[in-house]
């Protein structure tokens, strides 16, 4: 064994050509940095299928995605209130509450422990316009939570969305009776115990709020 090792010292057990580089060449340099995040691709990807079928399925997919956001199965956590309770909270409307479910499942098919109060979805008959005004406020309201110290300096419009949540918590007990009572009446008129039609109610906080995003129009 020792003898054969001595005789075969200068021979390798594999042929050097198979390695890919010859004798005496320097080894490839070692990598100094991690490999790039998006290395350039050697081959172009195969093009996507095209055609009527593909387009139809694409449209279906996007439609399904959009409509699933409106179904009651899309669960949003209720927002925690951060601000002072306001009088107008009593008349503001339907943010999701944690302790009721927006659709009515068949409870006999589910374990008893999951049973939760079913909430009648409040129908708010709003035209296009008020819904538009809600969007910038909702976006602004979330930042508000983070900047609690500057609450007093911010304008009242941005707290509009939080007030809705305050109202929900306060009215918890009252609401349970109201949805049963108003089955035969138009919801918006009787429910809030006022003589005024809810959509006419404007507590003046919308004023000036629209100007945040659209600088094209002059503000008077």
């Amino acid at each position: 064994m020792a003898g054969s090792r001595g005789r075969g010292r200068s021979q390798f057990t594999f042929s050097v050509d198979a390695l890919g580089f010859g004798r005496g060449d320097s080894l490839p340099t070692s990598a100094q940095t991690p490999s790039p995040l998006f290395p350039p691709m050697q081959f172009r990807p195969v093009p996507l299928h095209a055609g009527e079928e593909v387009d139809y399925m694409l449209a279906l997919k996007q439609e399904l995605r959009a409509s699933s956001k409106n179904l009651p199965f899309h669960i949003k956590a209720a927002r925690t209130k951060t601000d002072v309770a306001r009088y107008s909270d009593k008349y503001q409307n339907g943010e999701p509450k944690n302790n009721c479910i927006e659709w009515s499942p068949d409870w006999s098919r589910m374990p008893k422990e999951l049973c939760i109060k079913v909430r009648k979805p409040r129908k708010t008959v709003i035209g296009a316009k008020p819904q538009l005004t809600r969007k910038p406020k909702v976006a602004a309201g979330k930042e508000e939570v983070l900047q609690k110290l500057e609450t007093l300096e911010k304008r009242e419009e941005e707290q509009h969305s939080e007030e809705e949540e305050d109202e929900e918590k306060k009215k918890q007990n009252d609401e349970e009776e109201e949805p049963d009572a108003d089955e035969d009446y138009d919801e918006e008129e009787i429910e809030d115990e006022t003589d005024y039609i809810m959509s006419y109610f404007d507590n003046g906080e919308d004023f000036g709020a629209d100007s945040d995003d659209n600088m094209d129009e002059a503000v008077y």
Partner: protein, 516 residues
Amino acid sequence: MTAQEVRLCGLLLQEHFGDVVEKVGTHLIRSGVLTLRALAHETKLPLDLVKKSLCVLMQHGMCAFGAGRRGPAGPVEYHIICERILHMLRYPRYIYTAKSLYGDTGELIVEEILQRGQMTMSSTVKTVADRLTHNMPEGQSMDYSEVVSAFSRLVETHFLQRCPPMASAESSSSGADNTPLPAVTQPTEPEDHPECYKLPYINLTGQGKRRRSSEDGEADPRAAKKAKTDSSERGDEGIYWQVNFQRFHLHFRDQAIISAVSCKLDQTSSEIVRTMLRMSEVTTPTHAAFTQALSANEIFRALPSSYNIARPILDQYLTLLVDDPMEFVGKTGDSGGGMFGSRSARIFRLLLRKRHLEQKQVEDFAMVPAKEAKDMLYTLLSENLVQLQEIPKTPDYAPSRTFYLYTVNQLPTARLLLQHCYKTVGNLIERRLYETKENKRLLEKSQRIEAILASLQATGAEAAQLTEVEEMITAPERQQLESLRHHINKLDSSENQVDETIFLLESYINSTQAPR
């Protein structure tokens, strides 16, 4: 559950059901089985939110429950059925198939049931009739009986099935130890029930109602309340229907086989295969690797007459199909072409066919120059798509005296490719979410403008006002929106296409693992 599958499930749950359900769902997938309290405690979410999420998941058949480890008296435990979540990727394909087989009515029925998880027959019929009426010209409406007949056809061909009834009643909370009944309702397999495909008798006549936008607020609550009280008289309380995914998968599999045969051979042979598959639809169980044996006579009789295939020609075709080395049930390896070039794909296919080859033989058979062949083989090896098998000539594994054979292990390779696919879809979804987030402001602005335009048009505004509103979006913004839509369409389309590959690989893996 692999990490990629969990990630993809999380993204899908978030897209359809929101962040809360995503959190609950991913945690439950990772933990396996949990009770309600443990789940609420570990996710640090309020108990009510967890309850709501579990209700949603169970409604859609993605979560199941059972008696806990402490037996029937202990708390209920929940677990997630991951493959149901992954099926959400394929919803457009199911709906499109229903449309191609049963028309618009079938399409809407399947779409409604997919979106709502489970529905009773009467509520499905009503909703679908209303939707169809909405799209019809003024004055016409859809009759319920047409929808009922479409529904019946779907059930007869097993595309819809009843949700399995619960095993037994719940007990009270006293928890006596010697109660003979299980304390909790147990879900069972749908196929175990003889009435799985039996239509209930329902007393449903009428027509779809057209929703008028002006009466929106007033008419709808009253109509909805009326509908609720009516459904109890319909006669099919408690009978819920769900989509039978297995049946759709069978259909896709048959389609894939037929198109593969027609690509490889020709149209006529694909017709023959289609006939064979149709004949064995009823006799073959779902997961069988081979269909029941069919005699040539039976096939001949069953062929559609429009094809005019004479008997000897049929025999020739059958011999051809039998001799074909490509096995009909699923195939892997076509994705090797995309990433590594078509020559690597050639090498890969060669290895698939010849099982084991030496390097020299690979060069010869594939007609690829030696250096390239070496390079590609090593690349494929580093990606684990091919494996190296050592066969020693001598007892010590001296490299100069050992055969090194390249081979492809189909099953592990298929699994590897499947994981790559899951990762791909996850990446596509994340990229789409990123693109949407980046351009959120622009998208919101365009939505607002569209809403304004719509309301203006509804109240009959002049053309000047409309153009004024349209000009609120500047030209570069329009371009940006356009390119954004183009990107998102491309990403969505890619998701659909990768899902086709996922389906092929999944069915290959399932059929290979099934006992033959």
